[in-house]
């Protein structure tokens, strides 16, 4: 089987349908990000604007009340950094 393929053709559902509801969550859409947001908790005022503006809905409030990106789904668009009124979010290259 081709190493580039996920499944053999015989194993695909009819018409390549997806038969498992909610399986889209398994698709980590953040893997092609080039820049990632970094939050400076000293500057952050927990206003939640980043969460509101995030087009991926991947920013959520943590236990301390800070809003953090789920990097499995963050595409690195930088809207959160752009909208932050306190410049608490910066976009930068991730450390691997």
């Amino acid at each position: 089987m081709s190493k580039k393929a996920l499944l053999a053709w015989e194993d695909l559902a009819l018409g390549a349908a997806v038969c498992e509801p909610g399986s889209a969550a398994k698709l980590k859409t953040g893997d092609w990000r080039s820049l990632a947001p970094k939050l400076d908790v000293e500057k952050c005022i927990k206003c939640s604007l980043c969460m509101i503006y995030c087009p991926e809905f991947c920013i959520a409030e943590d236990q301390e009340g800070f809003f953090r990106s789920d990097l499995d789904y963050c595409k690195g668009c930088g809207i959160c950094a752009n909208e932050c009124p306190k410049e608490a979010i910066t976009m930068g290259v991730e450390e691997k």
């Binding site: 393929a5 996920l6 053709w9 349908a17 038969c19």
Partner: protein, 391 residues
């Protein structure tokens, strides 16, 4: 035994769809297909056919709605022609890619411009690669019979691909023929209710038509083509089953005239009947010629066609569509590719004839034969009967 009545072929096709108990019909009228769907809309309106008739605003929507209907598990039918088929183009691939069973009659007609409502095969030949089963009928009885067979083929779980039944516009659609109608009970026994494999059902959610990333697209296309290749056996089984139950036999590839002739005409669709008459006359005059009729076009019946060509030295291929700027017409290109590199490959003489309803008479075939055997049709193809100042 059913009854035999004189009826316009379009109306007989509508009767076939009714007898097949189609549940959803979504269609847009276009000449020369109109009488079929008009008649079906009457059946639905008067209650004699228990189906939903969706009068859409375009063929693009006709095909889209047909896909939606098939996705719910309904027995689905539509019909179109020429520009209408062209307008469906992008959705035709989706119907196959989503593995949606449905039957579509294509009343074959030329494509504009110039605008022309008459018969040729340029509409369907532009849709060769849509991954549909594609068959060509030769007369009205065959149109009736194969419309019912088509439902059984498309719904077979080894196929689950749409099927196009090609029926020459006007030459067949608008002619009145004596057609034998089977009993409804016999049709019901032949064609049981559709048992879909996968449907849109809230109790068992599925996503039909998700994005196919590069990691899955190739395999999805292979699955689809495999179903098409598998359909050849199913078409054969269904036709054999029809022959057993209704006494009219059809094969994927058929021969007429002198069986061991070294020269064979190759025809598709209604023109084959004119060719048959020409071949009978030529045989009566001692000429070594026969005819191969190609009923199944997709999947191409390779082995059956090669078997029919055993001992044949020359094929006179009638293409009813142009392939402008290409090497040969669509049918001759297919055959040249089939025979390439084979030791006993016959010579292929390609004739493009009958465009936009231009009549091709028995005498034309006699002349084609004479010219083909005398080597008078050199070149990759000849467009038959072109009026020109250059002789």
């Amino acid at each position: 035994m059913g009854k035999r009545i004189g009826i316009e072929v379009s109306l007989a096709v509508a009767d076939a769809v009714k007898m097949a108990k189609a549940e959803v019909i979504s269609a847009y009228p276009i000449t020369p297909q109109t009488h079929i769907v008009e008649e079906l809309s009457t059946f639905v309106a008067d209650g004699s056919l228990d189906a939903a008739f969706i009068p859409v605003e375009s063929e693009h929507t006709a095909m889209s709605a047909a896909i939606g209907a098939a996705a719910t598990g309904a027995r689905t039918y539509t019909a179109t022609s020429s520009q209408g088929l062209a307008l469906m183009h992008e959705i035709l691939f989706i119907a196959a890619g989503l593995r949606m069973p449905m039957v579509m009659t294509v009343a074959n007609r030329a494509l504009s411009a110039p605008i022309n409502i008459w018969n040729d095969h340029s509409d369907i030949m532009s849709e060769r690669d849509i991954n549909w089963v594609q068959i060509f009928v030769e007369n009205g009885q065959e149109a009736f019979d194969l419309t019912i067979c088509a439902f059984k083929i498309t719904e077979d779980k080894r196929v689950l691909l749409p099927i196009a039944v090609n029926l020459d516009g006007f030459i067949l659609t608008h002619v009145i023929e004596p057609i034998e109608f089977p009993e409804q009970a016999a049709v019901d026994a032949f064609l049981p209710p559709f048992a879909p494999q996968m449907t849109l059902d809230p109790a068992k959610p599925v996503t039909m038509g998700p994005v196919g990333m590069p990691e899955v697209y190739t395999e999805a296309k292979v699955q689809c083509e495999q179903a098409l290749l598998n359909s050849k056996l199913v078409v054969k089984e269904v036709l054999d089953d029809w022959a057993k139950q209704f006494g009219r036999a059809y094969d994927l590839v058929e021969k007429n005239g002198k069986a061991d002739a070294e020269v064979m005409f190759v025809t598709m669709g209604s023109m084959g009947e004119t060719t048959m008459t020409a071949v009978e006359r030529l045989n009566a005059a001692g000429k070594d010629v026969g005819q191969i009729r190609l009923r199944l076009w997709r999947p191409f019946p390779e082995q059956e066609f090669l078997a029919a060509c055993k001992g044949v030295k020359k094929l006179i291929v009638i293409d009813r569509a142009m392939c402008p700027g290409g090497v040969r017409g669509p049918v001759a290109s297919e055959l040249a590719s089939l025979f390439y590199g084979k030791p006993d490959a016959p010579e292929i003489v390609d004739i493009v004839a009958g465009l936009g309803g231009r009549d091709v008479a028995v005498s034309d075939f006699e002349e084609m034969y004479a010219k083909a055997v005398s080597g008078g049709l050199a070149g990759n193809y000849t467009i038959w009967g072109v009026k020109s100042h250059a002789a």
